[in-house]
């Protein structure tokens, strides 16, 4: 394994930390190590730095007020805090609406809440990964506390029409809180809450998907939202998330958000690589499916299913060429069932098990794309030769 030769195409999993982010963080580990809550002037530098960072991130999201930004430890924490906090603040409402394709940080949380007496509606998606607006309207009940719908899907990159969905929810019943998990979109799409998403109450994202380190997340909580903090203790984050602030990581996140804003244009180059890969694969390899391609998607993400072979073995074979990609399918998670997202999209089993995700990022080069195009067709060919579900002589699937 040679790190320098690694071709990293798993940017939806995590991203490389930008060197300028590391530089921005450095002084806060050494010189400005003070507790920002302390009274002496030395500590005020730390306090000033995190409040500046908060203002930067508020502007990055287009929030109305700086104190609508709460720093957390991860997007998972933000999601947990958002949903649990709304349920605690609205005890008479016991119903949650979400989708069947959420990240586990929402999906498993909702499953857990069901065990504690809450009822949850999981909205279905169609083959393209789209929600049915009528089903959403149907699902809204007088006791609905929160609607939590992700901005873009981590496995397929499919983007949900969050503006429309949040508008429908809030205009139907203003007491329902609308939350979105924007972990995959922050830094990739312009999120201007004030201008574009006025009906969003809560929004989560994390730093490590946009070239900041792991261990820092954000919960945006619109002023006036009926919500209670989950982390109780000191007065930090205006009492909304107790615990001494993670100063260097907050500074790093602010720098990463600034860079992401500057790099929004490079998303075009990323889309160009993704699109060329998809065109190439469709031309070169039979019996493939690009999941969610009939829909608006993140420009960085492609989720491809190869019929008759299994995803984990593709990933392993790719890694023999130093290529890192991921699978949402069976064996990766230790469970035999394919990804819940692809199942919800009714991708046939013969395809679903052979699904892999490439997610491009700022650091990918033309070379990376060429290397994948060079090796992937042969890998698929070899694995299909091994598979009992593929007839290599006729290049067709066999009976299942």
């Amino acid at each position: 394994m040679n790190l320098n030769e690694t071709i990293y195409l798993d940017n939806n999993a995590t991203t490389k930390i930008d060197p300028t982010v590391v530089t921005a963080m450095q002084p806060f580990f050494t010189d400005y190590f003070f507790n920002p809550s302390s009274l002496y002037p030395q500590a005020q530098t730390s306090r000033y730095a995190i409040e500046t960072a908060r203002a930067q991130i508020a502007s990055f999201l287009g929030a109305n007020k700086d104190n609508e930004i709460i720093f957390t430890g991860s997007a998972t924490e933000s999601n947990n805090s958002a949903i649990r906090g709304v349920l605690q603040a609205n005890p008479s409402r016991k119903h949650i609406i979400t989708t069947s394709v959420e990240h586990p940080a929402i999906f498993e949380l909702c499953k857990d809440l069901e065990r504690f007496g809450y009822s949850v509606t999981y909205l279905a998606v169609n083959e393209n990964g789209e929600l049915d607006i009528k089903e959403l309207i149907n699902a809204i009940r007088p006791d609905t506390a929160i609607v939590s719908i992700m901005h873009a899907n981590n496995e397929t990159g499919v983007i949900f029409p969050i503006e429309q969905i949040s508008r429908i929810v809030k205009l139907t019943d203003n007491q329902i809180i609308f939350h979105t998990d924007a972990t995959q979109t922050a830094g990739k799409l312009t999120i201007n809450l004030k201008a574009n998403f006025p009906y969003i109450d809560l929004l989560s994202f994390s730093g490590h998907k946009l070239h900041a380190p792991k261990g820092i997340g954000v919960l945006y909580c619109k002023a006036g939202t009926r919500w209670r903090p989950s982390m109780i203790g000191g007065h930090q984050e205006h009492g909304k998330r107790a615990g001494t602030e993670n100063v260097p990581y907050i500074i790093g996140l602010a720098q990463a958000c600034k860079l992401a804003q500057e790099h929004l244009q490079t998303e075009n180059q990323i889309q160009d690589m993704r699109d060329r890969l998809e065109i190439f694969l469709k031309e070169q390899i039979k019996a493939i499916k690009i999941n969610g391609s009939g829909n608006k998607r993140l420009s960085s993400t492609t989720n491809v299913s190869f019929q008759g072979i299994e995803g984990e073995s593709i990933i392993y074979a790719l890694n023999e060429h130093n290529i890192c990609a991921s699978t949402g399918s069976a064996c990766s998670s230790g469970s035999l069932a394919p990804s819940h997202v692809l199942q919800a999209m009714k991708v046939p089993f013969s395809f679903a098990h052979g699904s892999i995700r490439f997610s491009f990022g700022r650091y990918n080069s033309e070379n990376d794309l060429q290397k994948v195009m060079q090796v992937l067709p042969n890998i698929v060919k070899s694995l299909r030769k091994i598979s009992p579900f593929w007839d290599s002589n006729n290049e067709t699937p066999t009976g299942f």
């Binding site: 607006i133 429908i168 073995s313 069976a330 469970s335 035999l336 394919p338 030769k385 091994i386 009992p388």
Partner: protein, 310 residues
């Protein structure tokens, strides 16, 4: 889960992938026995082909001379298949001797498998068992019962197979439901994985839901449905009235301006709609909805009606 494969496992996979000479990958021409296990639904499946030298008088002295396989599955499923074939071929075994190869032998040959991947070795042993049953049928041999191979024998000994994906019998599942006090289908899936693959055994006759009812009584798994306020008659009449006003009053007015209105849904005195035609691009669309459509519905039907443009 990170890859915790042994060098042996990795090597066998790479050998198969590059179709290295001496590997056992591929279809056999005219095999003497075939066995299969797994399915595409579960995410792994193996097909094994045996070439068997037939003894002139005693089928029990037949010997396996060549083995080939095809496998759909992860890295370790493919390596396990290769390992199994190599083990059989190296020993010049009779089919009944081959049955003594267990999944543990495959794991040992590979130098170990991660816990989540043990099922790969089980699949190899099961496919081999099926192939030996195939041979036995063709050669009129009664397989010794103790081997536990072959679906029919399995049923007698271990109960009826309910979940094909994870190989769980009704006896096993009933025992678990009782022991672990499982109440819902989800409990069963979480505890045993049964029903967590293709899910076809959940509602099948004699499936997981039936087993739960059998153990826990009839109503144990029923969930109280939520009663929507929409179902009462007042609302139904109200919806009809709204539709009538839209058809007779609102729509003609909009159409006279080259536009139209599409009703997406009417629920709880809320009309979800969108303006179409000339209206859709009109800057005054929002104004029209609120001040014309909503106002008319409030005046003519009910003054709490809300119109939402979606």
């Amino acid at each position: 889960m990170a890859w915790e494969y042994t060098d042996k496992t990795k090597q066998l996979f790479i050998d198969a992938l590059s179709n290295k000479a001496g590997t056992h990958l591929g279809v056999m021409e005219n095999p003497d026995a075939i066995g299969e296990d797994g399915s595409i639904v579960c995410g792994d499946a193996m097909k094994i082909f045996l070439k068997i030298n037939k003894h002139s008088s005693d089928p029990l002295q037949d010997r396996i001379s060549a083995v080939k396989y095809q496998t759909f599955g992860c890295t370790s499923a493919i390596a396990s298949s290769e390992a199994l074939c190599a083990m059989i071929e190296a020993k010049n075994l009779t089919p009944i001797e081959a049955l003594k190869i267990t999944n543990q032998d495959i794991v040992d040959y590979l130098g170990g498998l991660p816990e989540q991947k043990i099922h790969c070795s089980v699949m190899g042993a099961e496919a081999l068992g099926a192939a030996v049953s195939d041979w036995a049928k063709k050669r009129n041999v009664n397989l010794p019962k103790a081997t536990g191979h072959g679906d029919l024998q399995k049923e007698e000994e271990e109960g009826r197979l309910v979940c094909r994906c994870f190989h769980h019998s009704d006896l096993f599942l009933k025992k678990k439901i009782k022991e672990m006090k499982l109440r819902t289908v989800e409990d069963v899936v979480n505890a045993t994985k049964a029903g967590g693959g293709c899910g076809s055994c959940i509602d099948a006759p004699g499936g997981i839901r039936d087993l739960l009812r059998e153990i826990n009584g009839k109503d144990a798994d029923s969930e109280a449905p939520y009663h929507c306020a929409d179902s009462n008659t007042t609302h139904c009449n109200l919806n009809e009235q709204i539709e009538r006003v839209i058809a007779n009053t609102v729509r003609p007015a909009l159409q006279s301006h080259g536009g139209d209105i599409e009703i997406i849904k009417i629920k709880d005195k809320t009309v979800y709609c969108t303006l179409t035609g000339a209206c859709s691009s009109c800057l005054g669309a929002q104004f029209t909805l609120k001040n014309s459509v909503e106002k008319q519905l409030q005046d003519l039907v009910d003054n709490t009606i809300k119109v939402i443009d979606i």
